[in-house]
Amino acid sequence: MLFSSYSFLFCFLPLTLAAWQLAARAAAQPAQALGWLLLALSLVFYAFWGPGFLVLLLGLIVMNHAFGTALAAPQQEGAGKRRLTRKSLLALALACNLLPLLWFKYAGFLTDCAARLCGADWSFTPAGLPLGISFYTFIQIAWLVAVYRRETAPEGLAAHALFTSCFAWVISGPIVRYGQMGPQLGALAGLRAENLAQGFTLFTLGLGKKVLLADSIGAYADAVFNAAARGIWPSTLEAWLGSLAYTFQLYFDFSGYTDMALGLGLMLGLRLPENFASPYKATGIVDFWRRWHITLGAWLRDFLYIPLGGNRRGRPRQYANLFLTMLIGGAWHGAGWTFIVWGALHGTMLSVNHFFRACTRGTLAERLLGAAPGRLVCVAFTFFCINLCWVVFRAPNLDTALTIYTAMAGAGPDVWPPLMAPDAGAGLEGFLARLDPAAPGSLMAALLPNRFFSGWLPFALLAVCGVIVWCCPNSQEVVFGRKEGAGPRVRWRPTTGWAAALALLGFAALVLASRETVFLYFQF
């Protein structure tokens, strides 16, 4: 059940809200009853993906709760060995969490790598990838470490199960911490109109982003990347447009999912952590990672970068730590060299960005870059770098990525078109004939020879995406206002205009919601 599927929208969600209200009114202890209800609904939701996956999730929950209880045992004074035991226990718990992830997600890839190294004909295909395993594994690791650090104490098994498996975040994040969600899950209450209104607003915006923008623009990205994977060279313009299409597809897919997750949480009175804050408005890669998949960035920082030493051991070590952290972050997204290369690219860019910041701190260059024109240049350059990195992230293999990069660089075969179409005629008619992609020999036909982008629609979609990304506030700002307290020009209000606009958006999305697509982050 995807959040954008009819089964979820017309069955699961209405039933959830109805059951929620009934339970809140009927129960003597609403918080407790709602907790049980949410757990039951979450397990049903997860079971739709496959009962086997649910068994694995439940097994890991029970295992981690047992580890957490053992880690929370009071420490005896003067028992030096006891501390060592707790540390070992944590190491064992982490290993037990990472093993299923390694097995299901990386065993095939590692076997393939080993086979290539040894020149052997080995192959291994694990029995499916349990959905959300990357997310719930990270959620549980964060919880175990928090218990170990005595920042949190384990509650009952049911509470832990609810925290881990809540349907709003179990499949695709955000990677929540117990400190953020535990208190909220312990104080669940009945539906509130304000929460529902804001929740439906966020959910509708997310659904619209996913269905109308991400899925639509994604078809063009698929056309270019799939053709390149089959050995068909895109032209330079097609390669750039294809990479841009994927860059926007991923943005609206992830942003849409996040909005829907946050909206669902809000409907039930849960405030999920922010996970997406206009990342393409970032003025540098450091800034980008504070805006893109915020909870993953924070997890990597807290559980990889800082334990590796962070910036406490000098700059060279800091840059090495950044690189390693992003390399692992890249591998977390998928078992393949493309993701590792993507992580390495981001690790390198982060290091360079930190180095540049350190070099320019307090100088004229910093002041110039901080001014509006300088910021604009930084945003454009950051976007350019991110766009280039998404190519290798999207490509099914390194060969395909190389094909796209080569075409983008204008170095592929037949990528430079003639500047003027022959015999197109003079005047307006001649000019229009040159722009007609259907006319053989026209300039547009030469620039876009493979018909990946025909008609005005792909260009209109790209333009709409660009306007929303750079000229509009993000959904969180629209609904809750800006962090600094200022209200953006486009701000949600309980007005008829907003009701009509959102209903129209929701209707268009609902009509088209059944296309066979998945959320991109499900596969990571």
Binding site: E194, L196, S216, R230, G455, P458, A503, F507, S514
Partner: protein
């Protein structure tokens, strides 16, 4: 105190807003049901996507009409209806690899039932369904070698419904036009075509289905398939330079599963199953001609590097012969003077390639001669060697292109025939 007051004033506002939101949403839903859905139904009818009956009626009447639906790619039901309308003297049956036999090459009514059999169990049920409708004088059976591998189909004697792929026009079909518009598959003008049709500028009458309307892709009046979009360069080939097929060969995936250790030929059970189908036809007096469908030379060359992986192909002809079935082995296209330039993809020959196969079958089996128009076959073979489609002004004015970029010389109608080099790619291009 102030927060409580704010909440107290906000709650009714939010509740009222929610009411408005859902009322407007419900209103739009009603608009969708009363306006958008009926228009979509009209559009599907006008475009011919939901008009399988009209398509069959037009094709059965002898008009050159194409049926290429975008709503559904399941066409068993359509083929059986067409078969009933034509009541052919001779039919070609098999997978998509027999869909290139054209009715124009036969002297007697012909129906191409290609695409209706994906394995032996379905082949049996389809043949039974055909015989219940009408008994032809002759049948050409095209075999796919992967049918004889247990990994493809575990139970070759299993009874399956004959029309598992019937056309089903449900609620989701009504969303298709709007979906296609958003995906850029149809233009606003095409969406408005039923309205424009009122002024004489709508869809073409002899095209049924959006594929047929847009690119002249679809089934012709004889049930054969016209791959116009790829051949004329309107659409990129799915198997560009046979890479996809060659990858399947290299990986042993999809139809190119490799035999398991110990499998040294076609499965005995599967051979028995085919022999039983063959006997069913023969015992009813239907002349049955069997051929093993061809592979492009590049693909066959790749497979020959590890012949032990595909014994169910390389020993199929002799295994059939041991059961008394005389089959023409067309696996090697070079054996009947065809080449990569005559292939749509790695394992689908084009129109000229199949003309060559039919010519060879007629040479080998005199019983087929009364059905075949040899002069037309010879004209196709000599005039359009190296091509995938034979130009037909009723189909498209667009010429065939070197759509696979193999360096294949193609010509436009009216050009001097290129001669003997046409069957193979030029060597001087990548």
């Amino acid at each position: 105190m102030r927060a409580t007051e704010t909440q107290a004033t906000q709650a009714p506002q939010a509740a009222a807003w929610l009411t408005r939101y859902f009322l407007i949403l419900a209103g739009l839903g009603l608009f969708g049901l009363l306006v958008l859905a009926p228009y979509a139904a009209w559009w599907l009818h006008a475009s011919g996507d939901a008009a399988v009956e009209r398509a069959v009626a037009a094709q059965g009447s002898g008009r050159f009409a194409l049926f290429g639906s975008g709503v559904s790619q399941d066409f068993v039901d359509y083929k059986l209806r067409l078969y009933a309308a034509i009541k052919p003297d001779i039919a070609a049956v098999g997978s998509s690899r027999v869909m290139q036999f054209r009715g124009a090459w036969f002297r007697k009514p012909f129906c191409n039932m290609g695409g209706v059999a994906g394995n032996l169990a379905v082949l049996r049920s389809t043949v039974d369904a055909m015989l219940r409708i009408h008994k032809p004088g002759a049948v050409i059976l095209g075999l796919d070698f992967w049918w004889f591998l247990p990994q493809w189909e575990a139970e070759p004697f299993k009874e399956v419904p004959p029309t598992s792929g019937s056309y089903n026009y449900g609620f989701s079909s009504l969303k298709k036009p709007w979906q296609w518009l958003l995906e850029g598959k149809i233009s606003p003008r095409e969406l408005a075509a039923p309205l424009l049709g009122l002024f004489g500028a709508g869809f073409r009458e002899d095209r049924f289905g959006i594929m047929a309307q847009q690119t002249d892709d679809g089934f012709g009046p004889d049930g054969s398939w016209y791959a116009t979009a790829e051949a004329t360069g309107q659409k990129l080939p799915l198997d560009f330079q046979f890479r996809d097929t060659l990858a399947q060969v290299a990986q042993g995936s999809k139809a190119f599963y490799r035999a398991r250790p110990g499998q040294d030929g076609p499965s005995e059970a599967h051979l028995d199953a085919f022999a039983e189908i063959w006997c069913r036809l023969r015992s009813r007096g239907v002349k049955t001609f069997v051929f093993i469908a061809p592979l492009s030379p590049r693909v066959l060359e790749a497979m020959r590097k590890t012949p032990g992986a595909w014994p169910h192909l390389f020993r199929l002809r002799e295994a059939l012969a041991s059961r008394g079935i005389d089959a023409l082995d067309c696996t090697d296209a070079a054996g009947f003077a065809s080449g990569d330039c005559e292939f749509i993809d790695g394992f689908h020959g084009g129109e000229v390639s199949y003309a060559r196969i039919l010519r060879r079958m007629a040479d080998r089996w005199p019983a087929l001669l009364p059905y075949v128009d040899m002069e037309k076959l010879d004209a196709v073979i000599s005039g359009w060697a190296g091509h995938v489609i034979v130009p037909d002004s009723r189909l498209t004015p667009l010429p065939e292109t070197d759509f696979m970029r193999l360096g294949c010389p193609k010509r436009t109608p009216g050009d001097v025939p290129p001669g003997s080099e046409a069957g193979a790619p030029r060597k001087d291009r990548p």
